[in-house]
């Protein structure tokens, strides 16, 4: 009986597959959240094609491209972090997360400068300058601020999540044979990247 009790104490309840499945289900709710916004975008772009093109010319393609490269690279470093941990290289894994966090900060700094430039030109939701424009342009900039803003919030959430994972790895709560938390955080980060892959051409690359 004592053997049995000992076995019970040492039995760790773990269901990595279930954890990952739960994460994917959550990601689908995120896809539907952004999907709804892309739907609004699609309908209004169909309705006001010329004004969407005209308004989009004002966005800075260089900053958009730079942020695309930053997010794609940060996706790579998260993926590498997981591989490093699987191979038992704790230090490299932590370094990769730190680099990912630095990329995320770079992304947000770019976003900050991009938005403040727009603000200084008098273009922000409800600004007199914007409200004087035709409806299509008001909608374009409204969607631009809401969609890239919500995406930016996701970047911030991802940064918090990855910082926690960094702490967990440091304290050996995430190890080379128990890393589903890191995998799920990585999935979240890739989703943030995925959404940007669509935001970028739809807002910055309309000519």
């Amino acid at each position: 009986m004592s053997d049995h009790q000992e076995a019970a104490v040492h039995h760790v309840h773990r269901d990595d597959l279930g954890a990952k499945m739960g994460m994917w289900l959550f990601l689908f709710t995120e896809v539907l959240l952004f999907g709804g916004m892309f739907l609004v975008y699609a309908v209004y772009r169909y309705q006001y094609p010329d004004q969407f093109h005209f308004a989009a010319m004002e966005l800075n393609t260089t900053v958009g491209t730079l942020n695309t490269i930053i997010l794609l690279t940060s996706s790579l470093t998260v993926a590498l972090s997981i591989t490093a941990l699987q191979k038992g290289n704790k230090f490299l894994s932590m370094m990769m997360i730190v680099i990912t966090l630095l990329f995320a900060v770079m992304f947000m700094v770019n976003k900050y400068f991009e938005w403040s430039t727009k603000f200084s030109h008098g273009i922000y939701p409800g600004s007199p300058e914007l409200l004087n424009r035709p409806n299509g342009q008001i909608l374009f900039f409204g969607l631009y601020y809401v969609m890239t803003g919500l995406h930016g919030l996701h970047v911030l959430a991802g940064m918090i999540l990855l910082s926690l994972m960094l702490l967990f790895i440091k304290r050996n709560k995430i190890t080379s044979d128990d890393y589903v938390k890191l995998e799920n955080s990585g999935l979240y980060w890739h989703l943030v990247d995925l959404i940007w892959i669509f935001l970028f051409p739809l807002f910055y690359l309309i000519q």
Binding site: G35, G36, A42, T83, K87, E183, H190, L194, Q207
Partner: protein
Amino acid sequence: MSGNEKHHSTGYGIYIVVWLALLAFTSITVTIAGVSLGRYTLFIALLIAAIKSALVINIFMHIKFEEKIFKVFLALSGFTLVIIFLLTFFDFIYR
């Protein structure tokens, strides 16, 4: 309980190859945006975005190496999104 066969470990190499491909597609989509292709511009931009997402989902997000149920999940949510878009546009265009 290590379950090694369930955890497909991916090497560093494939991630770097996919990353390079993603960067290449990004430069293609930026270059093409400068060329006037009329009504095909949006289609090509979305096609490239779709290819990039397929790379991210399959390799970075590991779907290619996961069990079948994950692919079913993914197909189902994608299908739902497509239906929502189609129905909305039917309503909007033929109103």
